[in-house]
Amino acid sequence: MLQVTDLDVFYGDAQALWGASVTVGSGEVVSIVGSNGAGKSTLVNAIMGILRPRRGRIVLDDQDVTETPGHRMCRAGVAIVPEGRRLFPSMSVEDNLDLGAFNRVARAHYEESLQWVHTLFPRLADRRSQLAGSLSGGEQQMLAIGRGLMARPRLLLMDEPSLGLAPVVVDEVFDVIETVRDEGVSVLLVEQNAQMALDVSSRAYLLAEGRVVMDGTAEELAKSREVRDSVLGL
């Protein structure tokens, strides 16, 4: 459903991605692993349309979306759970979810989506009128995922969803990734916690210094010397 080909992305004059190619199939969890600064978030932000690639193509369901700005990408069926959560801190939990469903397609399914998110994260229902900024780290991550799901994506981009969370909450987050996949949403997962990411993924890519240095099934990557050396630290 997503094909990224030969992507070059720059920050000003500094190149962050060199010819990155990644594909995600329908209903699949694909992870991008790699160390800090390898270009993982850059790739996600380029797909979302937050960053504009200088070269290469991004195709979503046979439609070229390379030049599509961020605010159109979400109508095309892509949503993001950004690194560091980036909620709207001085707005309530409910308003954050509400804004997740801002685009017209998602708006039409608002009640249905809200029910789904509340089933996945019952705590968000209890805290609906609390300000997002006053939630605990784990609750904030759930809200960030919930907000992403409110957009009714066919492809969910998740950038470091386990960062800074207690182990119990990390387990919960990864359970949700599997649930979401089972409901037919494709997930592109960027994680430093490579072990857990590979456990829930069917395929994976290893990114190092802005280049895809390896790709294959999650099992292949988990066993490979490169991944074990560079990310798993075994």
């Binding site: 605010h71 159109r72 801190p89 001085s90 707005m91 804004l99 801002f102 300000l131």
Partner: protein, 288 residues
């Protein structure tokens, strides 16, 4: 008693400054532009009100039918320009300072640098006043306060209660992520800048009603208006009104207790203290 009169009159005057600060604060907080051209629009609207009222004989308040949509358009166009050239926060300050200087010059060329005053037969408000006990309030000041309160309350309601308002808040808090969820910042930004322009038209109308016009008025406004924006909290609309009332009342009181020339000293000392101890404004919003 004179102290009470000074404080209340000062507060009412301050509300006019709050009305000027409203548009500036919204654009700064939500669009990240420091739009000094806002003062140019207020000045221009003031002179247009003067011109339209004297040439047609209409009440100056009626001219708002023309000036508000016109300034909406001007505000929106300036914002489109900022968007088109991807102007940063600091550069918007420099560019709009240039626009302000140009406007002041153009206004001087058209209407001369002399004082302009609406003839009293067109401006019945200038002579009227309202007495409350032993206190007395000139009608123009009351009108200004009334418009300021109505517009601030309207802005607060739109921001807090409507979907577009919440989208704007989201945009002010994290523009990239708001955009990733489908919030088209260009459209919202242009609408907000237009609304700020329309509020400038209302503020501009109140000057010829209350007194005389000269082209260099904006340079008298800037300091106080910025003080109010900062004390109120950038982008905080109700805070802007409170700050306007506070600054106005303080200036009024200081002027009668000491001398009028001491009031800027006290007001700006207040700003410095606020920046040190309450950098998000005196009336912080929840969360943040």
């Amino acid at each position: 008693m004179i102290e009470l009169q000074a404080a209340v009159s000062g507060a009412l005057n301050g509300s006019l400054y709050a009305l000027m600060a409203l548009g500036l604060s919204l654009a700064w907080g939500f669009l990240k532009v420091i739009n000094l051209a806002h003062f140019a629009m207020i000045l221009l609207a003031g002179y247009l009100t003067f011109e339209l009222a004297t040439s047609t004989g209409l009440s100056p308040i009626a001219t708002i039918v023309v000036t508000a949509p016109l300034m909406f358009l001007v505000g929106a166009l300036i914002q489109l320009g900022y968007e088109r050239f991807d102007v940063s926060e600091l550069n918007s300050l420099l560019i709009s300072y240039g626009l302000l200087i140009i406007t002041v010059q153009v206004v001087t060329n058209i209407w001369t640098a002399d004082f302009q005053r609406l003839p009293s037969e067109i401006n019945p408000f200038s002579a009227e006043s309202l007495a409350v006990g032993s206190l007395r309030f000139p009608m123009p000041t009351l009108l200004a306060a009334g418009f300021a309160v109505v517009l601030v309350v309207a802005a607060a309601l739109v921001l807090g209660r409507t979907y577009a308002g919440r989208a704007l808040q989201a945009f002010g808090q994290d523009r990239e992520i708001a955009s990733a969820f489908g919030i088209d910042h260009r459209l919202l930004g242009v609408l907000l800048a237009g609304a700020a322009g329309a509020s400038a038209a209302v503020a501009g109308m109140l000057f010829p009603i209350g007194g005389t016009l000269t082209p260099d008025l904006p340079f008298e406004w800037i300091g106080l208006v910025f003080a109010i924006v900062i004390l109120g909290g950038i982008g905080n609309v109700t805070g802007t009104l409170y700050a306007g009332l506070l600054v106005g009342a303080t200036s009024g009181l200081v002027a009668v207790i000491w001398t009028p020339s001491t009031s800027p000293f006290v007001v700006f000392s207040l700003v410095v203290l606020a920046l040190v101890f309450r950098p998000k404004g005196l009336f912080p919003q929840k969360g943040g």
